[in-house]
């Protein structure tokens, strides 16, 4: 029948590709490197963890009866005698985005078997990550020692602000720390020529996936926690 044929053409090869992949019961992701598929699945679970934190933050903020502190003022920095709102967070954002850029290029050079450039770019990524972490340490100490914010108390208003701030940024910072360690390990393996011997640079891409995810989470934290 003419109509049936048109429908099939509309559905196209992509949907058929999905049904073919999933019907081969044990090997849905057989076209993907196993490490990459596993990393994606881990990142999916991590998505749920961070989403639970952000949803919890939404719930606490919406149900708080005390005023929520103005993040633009809380995270302002005094530069040249002027308070610039939220500038520390903006710099942190740019540092993390830059680290993502260098990481993407490291993955690219990895697949071109360019050992030196891959290792250098990964080290640069780790360095950007460390910059981010040191700024976060500064931000935390400022909030703890100067403003007196605690996970259960906040002199500027709603105590829920302290709880969600330390929980969300702390967990993200933990991820950045793990990422930096992972990057340093993989970069030293790249530099020593380990992946030239095995002929498989997938580890660089897998580490890259994790690192980009950390940046991705920051995009949501930046929007919902700092800008909202």
């Amino acid at each position: 029948m003419a109509r049936e044929i048109t429908n099939r053409e509309v559905i196209g090869p992509t949907l058929r590709e999905i049904s073919a992949d999933w019907s081969a019961d044990q090997e849905v992701f057989r076209h993907t490197h196993w490490g990459k598929a596993m990393m994606w699945i881990f990142l999916l679970s991590d998505t749920f963890i961070f989403s639970c934190f952000l949803t919890g933050y939404m719930t606490m903020r919406a149900s708080a009866v005390l005023p929520w502190p103005n993040t633009a003022e809380v995270f302002a920095l005094n530069i040249g005698g002027q308070d610039i709102p939220l500038v520390l967070i903006a710099i942190m954002t740019f540092a993390l985005i830059s680290s993502s850029g260098t990481m993407a290029m490291a993955v690219n050079f990895g697949y071109r078997r360019d050992r030196r450039k891959t290792a250098t770019l990964m080290l640069l990524t780790a360095l950007f990550g460390l910059t981010f972490l040191s700024m976060q340490a500064f931000e935390w100490s400022k909030l703890i020692f100067e403003e007196g914010v605690r996970p259960w108390y906040n002199p500027m208003g709603a105590p829920q602000f302290g709880a969600s701030f330390f929980m969300i940024t702390g967990f993200h910072g933990l991820h950045v720390t793990c990422g930096v360690i992972l990057l340093l390990i993989i970069a030293s393996k790249v530099a020593r020529g380990h992946y030239d011997r095995t002929g498989d640079y997938s580890a660089v891409e897998i580490a890259g996936l994790y690192w980009h995810f950390v940046d991705l989470v920051w995009v949501f934290i930046f929007a919902f926690f700092y800008l909202w």
Binding site: F29, H31, K36, A37, S98, G208
Partner: protein, 116 residues
Amino acid sequence: MQDSPPIPSDTAHDGQQHPISLYLKVWGLLFLLSAMSYLVDYMHVQGIVRWTLIVTFMLLKAGLILSIFMHMAWERLSLIYAILVPPLLLLVLVRIMTIEANYAFWTRAIFMGGGG
């Protein structure tokens, strides 16, 4: 150097070759989008316009990172759907928690004299 991304292939994991200029462009775009979302705050845009702008810039940035940096644009559809569909469930959680938050807020406001 080609500018348009190559078409997806089954051998994507054997090494994707995209020009470095693509990454630099995305990097620049991410910088621009971050600067714009920072400006939303700096210019004191308030209300529904602020939230719309923040969410738009956020989704654009997330899309760029996911599709280009994480190479999802060149993955097989099975993997893309396996990763992107389950998080949609979170919309249900957000809806439930909105209701719960309203309930908690009014309970505090009415029965606890604004405290608690």
